[in-house]
């Protein structure tokens, strides 16, 4: 019988190999689950009162682009101060 020809060392080797395989597969899955998604936001700021808020990025927007008049002071213009990506929550 074939199992009678397998000595203890071979069995240990097979078990170690199986453990190694399982660890590799688990670590690979863990790596994949760490992948983070990003969303692009823009920081809009009033040129006078410095009132600011963050909003979703719209294609075609660029830094320093004027987005309208400030709703708070009514005098300053709202400009895009920054466009950046942040982690999706």
């Amino acid at each position: 019988m074939i199992y009678q020809q397998i000595d203890n060392n071979t069995i240990i080797m097979i078990i170690l190999f199986a453990i190694l395989l399982i660890i590799t597969v688990i670590s690979e899955f863990r790596k994949r689950s760490r992948l983070v998604e990003y969303v692009t936001r823009e920081l809009v700021e009033c040129s006078i009162c410095k009132y600011s808020y963050e909003e979703e990025y719209e294609p075609g927007d660029f830094i320093s682009m004027i987005k309208g008049t400030c709703p708070k002071c009514g005098k300053g213009v709202l400009k895009i101060r920054a466009i950046y990506s942040v982690e999706k929550k």
Binding site: Y38, D61, I63, S64, I83, Y84
Partner: protein, 334 residues
Amino acid sequence: MMIWSFDLKFKLRMIKRMIDEDSRRIEGFLKNINVESPSLLINRIANYFVIEPVSIEPIDIIKRYDHLIRTYDTSIRRIVQEYAGNVNHYTRSLLESSLSIYGVLNQIYRILRHYIIICERENNYPLMQYLVFIMPQILRIINTYHKALDSFLSGKPIGDGAGPLVALKLIEMGEVVSKKIVDETAVVEVRVKDRRIFVVKAEGPGSNVGKPGNVLSRLVDELSGNVDLIITIDAALRLEGERSGELAEGVGAAIGDPGPEKIAIERAASKYNIPLKAVIIKMSLEEALTTMKKELYEACERTVEFLWRIINESTHANSTIIVAGIGNSMGIPQ
């Protein structure tokens, strides 16, 4: 060898799927701007190549390199114009960059496929083993370019735009005296805190890197060398273990072009004995090519303060300074 071959082919198919997806996205973009035969344009640009100049004879190699780069840029622009017609400058620049990204991906795919076929045909297992080992690195690069396409198709500022962003912040700090565009590069003269500063950056907000070296060199000549300091600011690839957004200063021209722009800055500085300093903002390749992360934006704000410290330490009131923000100006005007 069979397992290796299976693994490589599986990854090659994965790359092919990414490339096909990118091709479809560019096709969609082209259809939106009423291009009749998008696939013809995509295939033509994807197979476009540049033959490097002869380096065994180094005399005038920079001139030849510069000529080839300019010819390449002009040719790509003409081809895009021929297919896309009268699209505006901004859209055309995004399209050119997106097609270049697709070209890079396609080139990597074709080279990989070539080697895998050779390995199988000739039973070359050492080469196949080498391919298996470097595959994760190649996949990382492919993934980076694949992700970058989204930013280029929508015009979002990328990490490589750190230099132009610092330049823009400097322009906004002072009073603009004059502004001109030469060779798709903006030269803005500003007065900031008793200093006369010429800010050089690629023309934005389109996707463009401009010709900052050549323009800076001409500017120094126009000023007859009366410049007290030249500072270049650029994004630089960080080493593993370093933090993204870390700043570092040094001496020399911080610019990652094949040569012509960098040498133009070095020659202009050494011709008139002008101190040439550099500030770099560290980031990974992925961060440099994809939408600028918030940490990098904050690093740009810190860079402006850091830049002022260098200017205060190295120059006095009424000095003339040239600050060059090197990188892609996508989403960053002047």
